[in-house]
Each structure stands twice: as C-alpha cells, then as structure tokens.
Amino acid sequence: MSIYAKLAYTLLGLFIVLNWGMLMSATFRKIVARVAGRHGIPFYQPWIDLIKNAGVRTTLSHGFMFYLGPVFRFTGAVGMFLFMPALFGSDMWSNFSFQGDLILLLYFQSFGMLGMAIGAGDGGHPHSTIGISRGLAQHAAIELPMILGVISLAIQYHTLSLNEIIAAQQGGFQHWTIFTNPIAGITLLLAALGAMGHSPFNLVKAPNEIPIGPPTEYHGTYLGVLMSSGAILHVIEAALFMNLLFGGATNWLEYIVKTFLIYFYSVFVGVVFPRFKIEQSVVWFFKIPLALGILAILIYSF
C-alpha cells in the first residue's frame, strides 16, 4: 500500500474515532444526568459545542506555553491513535503501529498530559495547579497496577507488540486475555477505572468544586481542541484495554461495540461510587489492584 493510501485510511480512521468519541461523551453525560434524575443533553450536543467553540470571536492567551498546551494535548491524543492498530488483521487500519510497541503507547499517554499540564500552568490559575497535582499523583498510583498487568501479559504472550497480543487472542472469546489471564485482566480493568478518570477517580477535574480553572481559561478554539482530544482519548483508552484484554477488533462494528462497553463499564462504576479524595484514590490503587498485580506476575514466576 502506498504511503498516501495509508495516510488516507489513517485519517479516515481518526475521523471515525473522533466522531465516535464525541457521541460517546454525549452518551456519558446523558447517562449521568438520567441517573441524577435530570433530562440531560441531546446526543448531538458535542458537535454543537465544537462548532460554537470554533466560532467564538474573542480569543485570549496567557502566553506561549498556554497556547502550546492544547497542541500537546491534541498531539498526544492523535499520537495514541496513530501508534495503536485500529483494526486487527487489516493493513489499511493498522495506522502507524509499526513504529512502536505497547511500551511506546504506555509512555506516550503522558505526552499530552504533561504538555497540557504545563500549558494550563502558564495560565496562572491556581485551580489548574491543584487539579494537575492531583492528576499526577493519581497517575503515578495507577501506573503500579498498570505496569504489573502489562508485564504479566508480556510474560504470558512473550511479546510487547500489541499486534501480536491481539493475534494471540483470536479464535473465539475463550482466547481473550480476560479469560486466559483473568488476574492480570482484572488488575488492568481496575487500573482502567483510574485511567479513564470517571468517579470515583475524577477529583482531578472535580467538575463540581473546580468548575472553572482550565476549562474557563481555555475557551473558544482552545476548548474545541481540548474537547476533540478528549473525545479521541476516550475511545483510545477503551481501545487499548480492548486490545489487551478483549481480543481487539477486526471490524469497525466490533470496535465500536467493544469500546462502548469498556467505556461504559467505567461510567457505570462512576455513577454508583462517590468521588475519592486524592489520598484515598492513591491508596486504593496500592491495595487490591496492587495485590492482584503482584499475583498476576507471581503465577508466571514459578
């Protein structure tokens, strides 16, 4: 396949993921509203928001790094998409996954996060710093079960290549990692709760207590870019766990169904459990997820 065709398919995939992500976040808000007894937004609200944000006439800037924050965030989201195969077994939809393996993905997650954090910091808003300090603390805690789970998988499959991990899970749901290596699977799913950032792990954004801060400072076009990045990341996070634990996807329908279920697993947990304080959430990851993660490796050590 020529590089142009490859590029075209990749961009098309990105477009699908973006729109799917926007739809997913609208659905999320709808569900949360319904649980709370509210009517909620229409499912097309994100597109309206995007158009509105792009159309806002006044744009303000706190400085160069403030401006780079969304760029980092967007690059981080797109990069995550690029370095992960979208559909398994398809050369067209494999994106740029030939450039790196699972480790690249794990660490590239932080690219957007760190850049965004620095950009928001440049805004000088104290709430930004508070939110970021919590976010980083929680992120560090999530890393522990996450790495344990990933290493358990790497030992299980003797590879760090995401394509090969998916390949090993083909041939029926009984080959999915969640069934072949349930302990690592559960560990990763618990880590996924933190990674997706819904309640009880949403003190980072803390929608109620910190209603302003970055979202206020980043308005208009910036907000549009951030929300688009967020939409992509929602899907990509879910897709990562899909690929690791649930056999990946061989067509877009499977992709959409699986990412939806994984994403909504975290949403449903979120609407049931109240928010943790940051020290609670950090300690939470050091308990059951950590113990399971250690177990997941121990069973491969003997």
């Binding site: 744009t59 790094m65 790196g100 808003h125």
Partner: protein, 1046 residues
C-alpha cells in the same frame, strides 16, 4: 664521611661551651645552638645520602676503644641514618620556630634543647640496652625541662606528670635490664637477641619488662593520659617536636627491642599489634568527641603511634615492605603533625570552631588542608602509598581483621580532622582577634609542606607501580594554584584549554567503554566550565580544586593498575570535596560527603586487596574473575562505588552536597561526578561476568538496591521545596535506575544502563545548569518564592522543558529509549518486581518534574522578580549544546546504541537487540526512535499551525486576568500554588518518606560520640590516676602475655 659520634660530641661540646661562653649573649648562644643542630643534621643526612646512593654499608662505631660487651657501640645503618636525619631536621626547624621562645628562658634552654635532640640520636643509634636506658632518661629530663618553657599551671602539671610517668617506665625498663643481664651476661642488644631470652620462663619476665617499658614509651591507649597532657600542655612548638621526634625515637626503640622478644612472627608481634590496634582505634575514637584543637592533635599523634606499633606488630604480614610502610606513615606524620602543631601555635585558636579565622589568610588554609589530607592518607602524600602497600600485603597474607582495624581507625581520624577542616573552611568567623605571621615561625611550616609533597612524589617513584602514575594533571593543578591571583576569565580559559588539550592527547588510547565515560568527564567538564565565565572577580581557589576533581576522574579512566585507579579515585574525592564545600551552607554536607567517600574508598581499597591475592601484578585486570573470596571482594568494591552513586542507605550526603553547591558546581558533581561510581560498578560487574563462581546473589542484591534507590530517590524529590535539592534527589533516583540496569548483566540491561548514563549526564547537566543560573538571578533556591519566570527567561524555560520531557521518559525524547530498553531488559531477565518498582518510581518522577517547571516558570510572577533578566549567556551556551545532544540522541539513538551494543558484546552475548535502519527489534518488541520522533513532530507542527491560524487574533492577557472562586487575585503569592504542592499525595505515601536511613546514621553517629564521651572520662587530669592507669596496664598485659605460665 663524618663519624656519627660527632653528633654527640658536637651537642655536648657546644652545650658546655655555651655554659662557659655565656656572657656572649642569648642570641649568639641560640645561633650557635642552631648551627650545631644544623651540623648534626648534616652528619646524619650525609650518611643517609650515602646509603641512598648505595655505596655505603652499615657501620658500627665503638666508643672508648673497646668492643662490646665491654664497651658501648653505636650503629649507623640506613634506618638509623634516616631516623636521625628526620629527628635532626625536625629539631632544626623546631629550633628556628622556637628561637625566641627559648631565648626568653635564657641561653640554657638552647643547651637543653640540643641535649634533648642529641639524646634522641643516641637512643636511635645505640646497640647497648643500658646506654639506651640512660639516654631515654636524659631525653625524659630534657623534655620535662623544655615543657616548662610554656608558662602556666597546665605546663607545670604536664611536666610533672611526664616526669613521674617516665620514671615509672624507666624503673621497669631498668628492672628488665637487670633481669636480662642476670640471665645472659650481656647488655648488648645484639647479644641479647642471640641469647633467645624469651625461650625460658624467667627470661620471658625480662622480655616482658623490657617490652612493656618500650610499649609504654609509645603512650598506649588508655595508659597515656600523661602523654596527652604533654602534647596539650607544653608549648606548641615543642609539642610538635615531642610528638614526632620523640615518637620516632620511641618507635625505633620498640623496633630494636622487639628483636630481643623473638623472631618475626613471635607472640610479642601479636601483642604489639593488639596494643597498637587498641591505641589506634581508641585514641581516634576519643578524638571524635574533642572540641579543642591541640587536644585533638594530641589524640591524633597518639593514634599515629598506635598505628606504628600496629604496623610493627604486623611485620610478619608485611615482610620486605615493612620499612616502606613505616617510612610512608612515619614521614607523613613527621612533617604533617609537626606542621600542624606549629600552625596551631600561629593561629592560636583554641576550639575547633574558632579555626574559622584561619581562612582570613587563605594560604594558611592551604597549609592546613595539606596537613589534613596527608594525615588521612590522601594522594599524593607518602601515607597514601604506605596505606596501599600495607592493605595489599595484609590481604595477601590473610590479615583481613587487621585491615578492618586499620581502616576503622583511619576512618575515625578522618571524622574529626575533616570536621575541623570544615570549620576552618566554612565555619562562622565571628571572632574579633586575629593572628600574626612571624617569618621565623611560618618558614619551617612552609618547608615542611614542600617536603611533604616532594616526599610523596619520591615515595611514589620508589615502586614500579607508583612510577606508572601520571602526575601531569596534578602538576596542572599546582600551576592553577600558582596563578590563582588572575581574574576568573583567564583562569577559566586556561582550565578549559588544559582539559581540552589533555583530552585530545589521551582519547585515541581509550577503548569504547572508557571513551564514553571520558567524554562525559572531559567534554562535560569543559561545558560546565564554560558557565564559569558568568562569574566575576577572581573566584579564588575554584580552578585548582575543580581541575583536581577532573584530574582524578581522568585518572580512573586512564588507570591500568589498581593503584592508579585508587590514586585517581582519591584525587577526585578530594577535588569534589573542595568544590562542594564552596557552597554557602555546605559545611555539614561536605563533611558527610567526605566521610561516606572515605569509608567507600576504604571499602574499595579492601576490595582491591582481596582481589590482589595470588596475583603477580595489580593491574586493573585483577578485578576480572577474582579467585579468592570473590563475594567479599566484589561486595566491598560495589559498596565502595555505591557510596559515590548515592545508593539507598548510603545516599544521605547527596541532597545537601549537591543542593547547596554553587550553580556550576552542582552539574559537575551531579551530572559528571556520580558517573565515576557508575564506572567503578561497570568495571566490577565486568569482572563478575567473567567469574568462575556463582555471583548471582550479589548482582541480585545490587538490582534490588538500585530499584529501591530509584523509588526512594524519586519520592524524596517530590516533597522538596528547594529546586536544587529536588534535582539532587532526582539524581539519587536516576542513579538507582543505572545501578539496577547494570546489575541485570545482560546485553539489554547494559544497553539500558549506558542509555541512562548518557541521558542522565545530558539532562541533569541541563537542569542543574539552568536552575543554578536561575538561582543566581533570583537569589533563592525555594521554588515557592519563584513563579512565572517563563515571561522573563524563555530560553531557560525551553531548556527545562526539554530536560524534563527527556527525564520523564515520554516519547519522542531520549528518555523513552531508556524506558523501552528497560522493559525489554527486565522481562528478559525475569526481574519483574524490582523492575516494577523502578518503573513505578518513573511514574513518580512526573510529580517532581512538573513541580520543577510549574513552580519556577509557570503560575504567578512575583513582584520582586519583575526586573530579572534571562539567565547568563555563559550558562545558555553549554545548556543548548547539551540540548542538541539530547535531540540527536532522541532522533538517532542507533548512532550511539549500535556501537554500544557491539562493545557490550565483548562481555555479554550480543542477542538482545538488533537494528534495521532506525528500527530496533528485541525478542519482545520493536520501536523506532527516528520514526516516532518524525510522526510526533509532524502532528505537533500541524496542530500548532492550525491552532495558530484559528487563534491569530488572540488577545494577550495580563498576569492577574484570571478569576477564581469569585475573586480576582491581587498578589501573586496568594495565587501561586507551590508550597507543599503534593499535600494529598503525601497523605497517601508518607510511610515511604520516613527518613529511616537518616535516623540510622544519626543513631550511629550518636553512638560513636556517646561512646567516645564515656570513655573519655578516664582522662581525669589527675596525675595519680594516670600513674594508676600505667600500673593497671602493666598488670593486665602481664596476665594476657605471661599469665600463669611461669
């Protein structure tokens, strides 16, 4: 050749003449006395020279025309020539130093002084035991008289105790002589030796009495209160002479009489070693608690006597090297201790803290530094070579316990000497009085210092190993000392040119492994030196010590032998100590750095000693496949190197030392110096990889140490308020990764290790240089006092941004190369849990990295920083050079990693990684540095351009144009979230931040101090108690040596 009898004759003759010609005046008498001592020195040194040249045989001098045993005979051999020369030389300098002090007491003081020296000469030369007794008495009486040249009760008391004590000792000696004569019928020492006295029970009593007297002359701990009082109570000028000249003679008495006790390896050797060990450790332990300078010197002197006694007792182990070792220790002690006492006489500061006044005259500080480093046994002083030879020989013969004793005693000595030196260099100088320089007092000291350096050089040239040492860098250091008066720019240029030229000449001879480290040391050194142009004025003393450190660093790289390596290692330690202590609040941290370094160096020395067993030549290759006690040898070497890499447990010195150092020193000691420890670890591990033994437990332990270091270093960094301390803790963590990666001991592990080594050098230098330069601008280390500096220092901000992205391991910068290799290495090796801990530490790194950039550059600009400027261009040049390095290494990692892989293939099978273009493939995964970088860059640029177009009309906001909680901030302080930034995280992880290691070392330190404080109570100052000590000592020794065996 002048007969040595003229030494005696001249002293006696002139002594009588002064009495007769007394009317000629004090000064004339004094000059006559000095001339006489000069003549004595000439006679003995003439003999020494003849022996040195090699055309002289030992000669007996028979007195009164008869041969022994009828008459007394003296012997002038090489040892006698050397010792009398030393005694007379020190005596001559002492005479000059004390010229006016004697003068004030009248001309008889000169006579007594001459007689004193003459008696020591005879004590050294005589072969007749009764004659020995007589001249010991003469010297004791003369000493008591000379103690009294100092006024005051203290001196009188000291003199009195001295007389009583020496009387007891003489009586015992005399009784011993009587017994010996009774059983053998001779008083000649050689005759007594042949009589084999100790073979009979009753002869054993004679030997016991003679030996105990000789031992007591050496002031053994704890029966030495009288000796301490003499050193402390008499005039400094004379304390020095007693401390060294008398001690030298006493040592030789013991040496001669030991022959009577039995041949080499007899029981008395062992007792002597034991008493020496107790004295060496005991005195130095008590010194630790001491606050007064002269008392401290007294403890040190007695400690050295103990060491000499110990060495003599260990002659079985040392064999032919005994004389070399004794010479090294003795000569250092002679010159350094004398000089130190005399310096104390000039500075006149009583307590150690008061010695802060010495730096008002920097040259005096140089003198003091020379003495301290010489006494501890640093290169290039003779004691360094002596200690080396001693440890090598002891290890070879299996005397490991004795090695421990010697090193522990030396370490205790290092504690108090470096604490004292720290007060001198950095203590608070709030004292009103000053000290004067008198030329007749300073000249002898300067002569001693010059002699010390020259003696060091001569000692090194005496052995084949020593001759291999490259002294050129050290010479360059001396040149820099000499031109220290020049302005900073000139010296900086000379230093850079010097390092550059040296590097140019040596780099073709280096293999790839050494080249990596040498580039970090030398190129890194030059880059950090460039930052030095930002400084104004003279920056006194900076360049010699900086180059001293680099001389040491290049020394360990170029070393072919373990001696060269250790030589370089110690030079580097000394240089870095001086660099670190230059910081404003560095005194305690420099001390702790030095003590860990000294202890580490001793571990290395012991390790080399064990490695050397059974080897013909101590080249560095002996570290490969050590045959005897390999776990101990490698373990000791690794512990030594781990002190330098500040691994957990041995890390407490680092945060303060690096955090408080000057702006351009921090990167030198962090980004560059720490790699010396890594280089050592790499050498040790290479050796282990070639071992026939299973050393995996050692590597496994090392791996855990590395992983835990990474974790605790990074957690420590998160909670720092001080930017430089944050970076310092970060270095601990990073070095933890490096240690861990090398401990894996596979190709991938080592590739990871080297990647981290290169990366850490690059980004830590960038971060420390930038933060250091910012500190120079804003005048504080505290991050919460900064903020918003991105507006003022965009270039610095960009540097830190790249630095933290690289450090955090986020793709596409070079930190990720390390992370990727790391995962592959740990999974391949199977070290999952250690690996996870290290990786978890990596996640924590985000916290402190964000804190660093946020609280310094982002957030709110403080009012007092509204006019600060961008950091100095002289800092920006090296910073951006290093940034280029980071970018190249990020985009084209294979340029470095491919040759590295081939190099590592020498040690480990080359199967971990292979390259196809820019694609790296391991057994587990794949990744391309260039590809990822290109992809990310393209997306980034597109996003950037799009956003720029869409927000082209963006309105620029002012600082306080933010709204939160319905408030509009007015002051930056209320809005800048920086202090205690990770309070929430702290609540979660505080159990991991409990400073258990600090508490452990504080506890250890308290233990040593409390023990010293407790034992010190035996020195009540009461003369009767001191005499009782002597008696008890004799009784106890009797039970130990003879007991009921008669």
């Amino acid at each position: 050749m002048v007969s040595p009898i003229y030494i005696v004759a001249a002293a006696l003759g002139v002594g009588f003449a002064i009495g007769v010609l007394g009317k000629l005046g004090k000064n004339f008498s004094g000059i006559l006395a000095l001339l006489t001592i000069g003549f004595m020195t000439f006679v003995s040194s003439e003999w020494l020279y003849a022996f040195y040249v090699g055309n002289q045989v030992p000669t007996y001098i028979f007195t009164a025309g008869f041969k022994p045993p009828i008459s007394i005979n003296l012997l002038m051999g090489p040892k006698e020539a050397f010792l009398t020369t030393m005694v007379n030389f020190i005596g001559l300098l002492g005479g000059i130093y004390l010229f006016f002090n004697f003068g004030r007491k009248g001309r008889n003081a000169y006579v007594v002084y001459m007689v004193f020296l003459m008696s020591l000469n005879v004590v050294i030369m005589t072969r007749d035991i009764f004659n020995l007794f007589v001249f010991l008495e003469i010297s004791a009486i003369a000493t008591a008289g000379l103690i009294l040249i100092e006024r005051g009760n203290r001196a009188v008391g000291a003199g009195f105790k001295y007389i009583i004590a020496t009387s007891i000792i003489s009586s015992i000696l005399l009784i011993g002589i009587i017994f010996a004569y009774f059983y053998t019928g001779t008083l000649n020492i050689d005759g007594l030796v042949q009589a084999h006295l100790s073979t009979t029970a009753t002869g054993g009593i004679a030997v016991f009495l003679i030996m105990i007297a000789a031992v007591l002359e050496m002031k053994p701990f704890p029966a030495n209160g009288w000796g301490l009082d003499v050193y402390e109570g008499s005039h400094q000028g004379f304390s020095a002479v007693v401390s060294v000249a008398t001690a030298t003679a006493s040592y030789y008495v013991l040496y001669k009489l030991l022959a009577i006790a039995g041949p080499v390896g007899s029981q008395w050797d062992y007792y002597l070693a034991l008493m020496g060990a107790v004295t060496f450790i005991g005195s130095n332990l008590l010194g630790v608690k001491q606050k007064f300078a002269r008392r401290l010197l007294a403890y040190s002197s007695i400690g050295q006597l103990g060491l000499l006694m110990l060495i003599l007792g260990l002659r079985k182990y040392l064999g032919d090297n005994l004389d070399y070792v004794v010479l090294g220790i003795l000569i250092t002690n002679l010159f350094a201790k004398t000089g130190f006492f005399w310096l104390a006489g000039i500075v006149k500061a009583k307590t150690l803290k008061e010695w802060a006044i010495i730096r008002r005259k920097p040259f005096f500080l140089f003198l003091m530094g020379t003495f301290v480093f010489a006494l501890i046994g640093f290169p290039p002083f003779p004691s360094f070579f002596a200690k080396w030879t001693m440890v090598m020989n002891l290890a070879r013969q299996g005397g490991f316990g004795w090695i421990a004793v010697i090193l522990i005693g030396s370490f205790l000595e290092a504690i108090y000497l470096f604490r004292w030196f720290g007060y001198a260099v950095k203590g608070e100088d709030t004292y009103k009085y000053d000290f004067n320089i008198r030329w007749h007092k300073i000249t002898p000291i300067v002569i001693l210092v010059a002699a010390l350096y020259y003696a060091g050089y001569l000692t090194s040239q005496y052995t084949e190993l020593g001759r291999m040492i490259d002294f050129i860098p050290l010479f360059f250091v001396l040149v820099l000392f000499a031109i220290d008066f020049l302005p900073v720019a000139v010296k900086n240029t000379i230093a850079i040119l010097g390092m550059g030229t040296y590097f140019y000449f040596i780099y073709p001879d280096l293999d790839n492994l050494r080249l990596i480290f040498e580039v970090i040391f030398m190129v890194g050194g030059i880059l950090t030196l460039i930052a030095g142009y930002a400084y104004k004025g003279k920056r006194s003393g900076f360049y010699p010590v900086a180059i001293l450190m680099y001389a040491g660093l290049t020394g360990i790289i170029q070393a072919h032998t373990t001696l060269e390596f250790f030589f370089g290692w110690e030079l580097m330690t000394a240089g870095s100590y001086f660099l670190i202590i230059r910081g404003k609040r560095s005194m305690p941290h420099a001390l702790s750095y030095m003590l860990f370094s000294v202890a580490g160096a001793y571990a290395i020395l012991a390790g080399f000693g064990i490695a050397n067993i059974g080897q013909a030549f101590p080249s560095l290759d002996i570290m490969n496949n050590i045959q005897y006690f390999p776990n101990w040898a490698y373990g000791l070497l690794l512990i030594g190197f781990l002190t330098k890499t500040a691994s957990v447990g041995l890390h407490i010195w680092l945060p303060g030392a690096h955090g408080e150092a000057e702006s351009d020193v921090s990167p030198m000691v962090s980004a560059i110096l720490l790699k010396a420890g890594v280089f050592g670890i790499v050498l040790a591990l290479i050796g282990m990889s070639k071992s026939d033994f299973d050393l995996s437990a050692l590597a496994y332990t090392l791996g855990w140490i590395g992983a835990l270091t990474a974790l605790f270093g990074n957690i420590g960094a998160v909670f720092q308020e001080d930017a430089k301390r944050l970076l310092a803790y970060s270095s601990i963590g990073q070095l933890g990764y490096i240690v861990f990666a090398f401990a894996i001991m596979t190709q991938l592990g080592w590739l990871t290790g080297f990647t981290y080594v290169i990366n850490h050098f690059l980004y830590k230098a960038v971060l420390f240089l930038t933060v250091g330069a910012i500190v120079l601008r804003v005048g504080t280390h505290n991050m919460y006092e900064m903020g918003g500096l991105i507006k003022k220092m965009p270039w610095a901000f960009f540097a830190v941004l790249i630095g933290i992205i690289a450090l955090s391991g986020v793709p596409p910068l070079s930190g990720f190369t390390g992370k990727w290799l790391f995962y592959n290495a740990i999974i391949e090796k199977g070290w999952y849990f250690q690996g996870v801990i290290a990786m978890f530490a990596g996640g924590i790194a985000f916290l402190y990295l964000y804190r660093l950039i946020q609280t310094i550059f982002l957030g709110q600009l403080k009012d007092n920083h509204r006019n600060v400027k961008e950091i100095s261009i002289w800092f920006l040049i090296p910073i951006y050079t290093l940034l280029t390095g980071i970018l190249v290494f990020s985009y084209e990692p294979q340029w470095v990693l491919k040759p590295l892989g081939n190099m590592i293939a020498q040690y480990f099978p080359n199967n971990g990684l292979h390259w196809e273009g820019s694609y790296a493939y391991s057994h587990l995964g794949y990744w391309t540095g260039a590809g990822v970088a290109a992809t990310v860059s393209v997306v980034f640029v597109i996003a950037f351009i799009l956003l720029k177009i869409m927000t082209r009309k963006a309105h620029k906001l002012e600082q306080f144009d933010i709204v939160f909680s319905g408030e509009r901030p007015e002051r930056p302080e209320t809005t800048h979230i920086a202090y205690n930034m990770y309070a929430g995280f702290y609540k979660a992880v505080w159990p991991l931040t409990v400073p258990l290691v600090e508490r452990f070392w504080t506890w250890m330190s308290d233990l040593v101090h409390e023990t010293a404080g407790f034992v010190r109570r035996i020195y009540s100052g009461n003369g009767q108690a001191y005499m009782l000590h002597i008696i008890l000592y004799i009784i106890i020794l009797y039970f130990i040596t003879i007991g009921g065996n008669i």
